[in-house]
Amino acid sequence: MRPALLRSNDAMIAGVCAGLAAHLGITVNVARIAMVGLAFAGGAGIFLYGWLWVLVPTQEEQLRRAPTPVGPRLTFPTSQGAAGGATSSFVGSSTSPMVSPTADPSAGSRGSTQSLIGKREVLLGTALLLVAAVAIAQQLGANLPLDTLLPVGVVVTGAVLAWTQLDETRRAGLMNRAGASQAGGLARLVAGLLLVTVGVLIMVSGSISWELTWSTLIATGAVLAGVFLVLAPWGLKFWRDLETERSGRARETERAEIAAHLHDSVLQTLALIQNRAGSEQDVVRLARAQERELRNWLYADATQQSGNLAERIRALAAEIEDSYGTPIDVVVVGDAELSARQEILAQAAREAVLNAAKHAGGNISVYLEAGPTGSTIFVRDRGSGFDPETIPEDRMGIRVSLYSRMDRHGGEVSIRSNSEGTEVKLVMPEKEADGAQ
């Protein structure tokens, strides 16, 4: 199927030629040359280009318009409330491969303006070359109708200025209004308007006298003011409706996202809990796992890096909690990088927690104190206890995983056990004193 006619991101000016090329199945350069060629045929190319620019939507606009299915596990929108947040999350959540630059709105506009090196400079150079060509032609005696060319040029420049502004607002500016680009955009719009007005004035004043021009100007101004007065409330109302609709849609997207998440996680768990209402252990396990997952989703600390010791201990505690159904409370003080040595500690801690979950049951407390010089982990259970001196030789878990493993890497293990419970203390210094290993 032929791709729809959309303006491309790979843009020289506004992406018309690239879009046209994709639509017609020709190469971009052919489209561009044809457009330039048409431009010399009485300016047809310029008009065609302008017409397509105004009427053909960009890829982003097309996507925004299309209904977006909400996936089951979307990331939470980082900017909330603002209309921009909605559009960006809308676009970002689409699965189309065409929207690579839209994840970050600013990156989108940067990508499109900087994808070609010095696009602006090329355009400016072309314009200056044209002016120079005209000046040289004039010098050589060619009788160019400068009186009409100049105002037309001014008008076109103004229009292009204003249009690029509008275009970029539509493309990316909507998503990031608070940025400094707004002032620049406004300046461009005003400059464009001014240029167009001046151009039209020059054109008109060429054919009629100045006196008449002034009175016409005043009359025109009065009419415009009147029209504005009448239409302003309508315009304002229209604008407000648009804003309301936009923020409504933002809320709706957010809601849909949260609903999707809750459906996938919480509702499923609740259904499971109803099924397993008979087994207290299953219910507790499901509830704890769901709580952990939901908490993670709600309060996930973006600043916390993964791959650290604290994260590792939390993850292994969660895993054991899931498989044995015993509540494990993890308290972490400080954090350390997960070096090879601390990985040994984590594995030993896993063995200790696993032992507690298997043999003691009940609440298990895990306390990790980590720092740059080393880490200490306490694993405490409230089981009936055992005598570490009388561990049978075949109890591989404690012998191999705890004592010998920790010993080999310069760590220490001490176990205290009585009738009220057992506490395993694991110490792993970060730097070994005698330099072994």
Binding site: V331, Y367, E369, F378, E423
Partner: protein
């Protein structure tokens, strides 16, 4: 301080009716529930009306200006001498806890706490002591540092060696009784240490605490 014959009076503040009734059933005979409240304004009114000894206060509450439990405490500052607040929360996220503690709560427990434990916690708070969960003790250690530093200017900004030991044991999941046994001190002494830590947590201008609070826009 408490007359053993006279039950402790309590007002339960939580926006979930199921949780309130469950909590009521969990509290033993040493405690009478005077009233329940479901929102910030309702809670402040009920506390002023009934003057309970202890308020069991949910951290997340609807109503008011959105401040939740901390806002209720702020609305009852005149009563703080006679009424003590015990914060309850589903979330053991430090940001929730420290806000209410800094607002003036005497303790903090998670909602998964068992019936006898919550009753003990209420009695402990009523007698003027503080109640720390392992998570809160862990946060204290995180904020004040685990090394006993002597060079900090203000007494408020550091933990004594003994307080450090007590906090560490609580973070390891020890009950007050077990802490006392471990350190060969009386439970009363443990309570004194914990109360001292609570005071420091509430009043300290230690920059970890303020920075931490500022990062989460609590101040």
């Amino acid at each position: 301080m408490n007359d053993p014959q006279q039950p402790i009076t309590v007002v339960v503040v939580d926006d979930h009716a199921i949780f309130r009734s469950g909590l009521r059933a969990d509290l033993d005979s040493r405690i009478t529930v005077l009233a329940e409240a479901a929102g910030v304004a309702e809670a402040i009114a009920a506390i002023h009306e009934h003057r309970p000894q202890v308020v069991l206060l949910d951290v997340h509450l609807p109503g008011g200006s959105g401040g939740g439990g901390a806002e209720v405490i702020a609305g009852c500052t005149a009563l703080l001498a006679g009424t003590r607040f015990l914060a309850l929360s589903v979330s053991d996220a430090a940001e929730d806890v420290v806000t209410v503690i800094r607002a003036g709560a005497r303790g903090y427990v998670t909602k998964t706490i068992s019936g006898p434990e919550i009753s003990d916690a209420v009695l402990r708070v009523a007698s003027g002591d503080a109640v720390f969960s392992p998570r809160l003790a862990g946060f204290v250690l995180d904020a004040f540092g685990t090394a006993a530093v002597a060079s900090v200017d203000s007494e408020l900004d550091r933990l004594s060696a003994r307080e450090l030991e007590v906090m560490r044991l609580i973070a390891r999941g020890y009950s007050y009784k077990e802490v006392a046994k471990e350190l060969f001190i009386s439970i009363k002494t443990v309570e004194t240490h914990v109360s001292a830590v609570l005071r420091k947590l509430q009043l300290s201008s230690r920059h970890e605490l303020t920075r931490w609070a500022a990062e989460r826009r609590l101040l």
